[in-house]
Amino acid sequence: MAKRTGIEVSIAIAEAARQANVDVVSAYPITPQTHIVEHLAQLVADGDLDAEYITVESEHTAMSACVGASAAGARVFTSTSSQGLALMNEIVYLASSLRTPVVMALANRSLSGPISIWNDHSDVMNERDTGWISIFANNGQEAYDLTLMAFRIGEDRRVMLPVMINFDGFILTHVIEPMYIFDDEEIADFIPPYEPVCVLDTDNPITMGPVGVPDVYTEAKKQQEIAIRESRPIIEEVFEEFAQRYGRRYEPVETYKADDAEIVLLAQGSVIEAAEVAVDLLREQGRKVGAVELRLWRPFPFDALREVLCGTSIKQVVVLDRCISFGGPIGPVLSEVRSALYLEKDRPMVVGVVAGLGGRDISLEEYVEMFDVGEECLRTGKDSGEETDLVRIVGLRE
């Protein structure tokens, strides 16, 4: 039976990697890191995890080692953040195009400059089009559960793609909170040993990662696009099996009191739970508000999102972005949500706000302010135009 225990979220995520019995961990163990790789290093050093722990001289090499190990048939885990992920970027693309199902625990943190390693979503949004499956957790339990599920999803032979699990740096990683941690035996048969499709083997040589001349590059990219699109039902299959076995249910898009809501706040990560507190507060005042969580970021859950937002009571969506798309459409989440709804006839208006950049705390009052932005938009009937295209930052000091 899973035990309820007080544990630092980073340690729980490292425990998930241990329970998945990873073969190789490679990481660059200095700022911006978390206790995740520190704990794994300790487990390997103490003999509590039979894995190869490859320390490297940079994140670029950390991801290179991960891709190489995965190509050789190993179950691979890494974790990073912020500029660390930015430095990995080149090889992040290789992991998905070589179909190496590396699992990455990504403690979402900001990008410089000014120099910052505090929490926002700049790092993950920079990786939006790398071809990784990308899923958001909004509390410690979810970060632990999803890290476990990431191995099942990525390594499924119908998927064979790397998976990043997103959870807010500091806000989640540095917090001790109650979580249910599985007994090793209880989770062991949920994650069977990894069976790679093809491996680098000197006795049976194959080529992985050759040059994609113009004659084949387009077709390779098409295959990659099909692969991630077709991962969607498998992701839901794994969510469903997890729910059946352990009772905690995950969905690509989740809602809170949205059934009869007119205005919803749509966001990702730990802000969702705080938004729910604001929803409860406003509901007490008779306001018809709710929250929508875009848990699955890649592949983008177009149908699930439309089902929640279109042809329902929802008239106004306020999208909370945790980073800025400079000179662009406010933020990446707003851009994608608007795009997903564009062709729908019966769709709500969509307006965007940005908050919580580089560790700026978002107070309860500021969540209320976001719903006020929605109300104003609904009243004026305008969700586009010069005024609404401006980047509206909640919590900005004037």
């Binding site: 309820r4 929490n119 500091f170 989640l172 540095h174 917090v175 109650p178």
Partner: protein, 182 residues
């Protein structure tokens, strides 16, 4: 929900205080969070740590601006930082000091609050031989506000400090006995 702010200096273990309290609350079946202030910590510089304890799931992850309880591990901090800033009306201040609670109420200019004081530095020097007051101050806190039972907390103190568990628990109990609350 009870929100607690710990004031310490880098290296004094304020974060450990916050964690031990949360772990004990969770062990009792409550919900709790412990987290540090996310800054660039340096040894000796003023630092903050926080604990939330509730009977219900805690969804709020914002900073704590209006604590119910403030605990000050280092006596020199009262002059250095505004330790009672934002403290709720009728809240509790737990101080490491030789002076009694009555004097402190005057000094802090808050006669609405409850004050607990204990000479934690002397207790720590006598029992541990070092002026580290993080565990000691938890004893004073529980005297003023029984947020958790002593036993689960002592269990986590022993786990965290296996080599000096006995001394830490003795110091903790002494603070529980010796704290004055008004």
């Amino acid at each position: 929900m009870v929100e607690i702010r710990f004031h310490g200096r880098g290296g004094q273990g304020a974060v450990t205080s916050a964690e031990l309290l949360a772990l004990a609350a969770i062990k009792e079946g409550k919900y709790a969070q412990a987290f540090p202030a996310f800054g660039a910590e340096r040894r000796g510089a003023p630092v903050l740590a926080f604990t939330r304890i509730s009977d219900e799931v805690i969804k709020l992850r914002t900073g704590i601006y209006h604590p119910d309880v403030v605990i000050v591990l280092d006596p020199s901090l009262v002059k250095a930082v505004p330790v009672v800033a934002g403290l709720k009306e009728g809240g509790l201040v737990v101080l490491n000091s030789k002076k009694g609670p009555g004097d402190w109420k005057k000094e802090l200019g808050r006669d609405d609050v409850q004050v607990a004081s204990v000479d934690a530095t002397s207790i720590a020097m006598e029992e541990l031989g070092v002026p580290i007051t993080n565990v000691v101050m938890l004893g004073a806190l529980l005297k003023a506000k029984p947020l958790v039972d002593l036993e689960p907390l002592e269990e986590f103190i022993a786990q965290r400090f296996p080599r000096i568990a006995e001394q830490e628990i003795k110091a903790f109990r002494r603070a529980y006995q010796e704290a004055r609350v008004e």
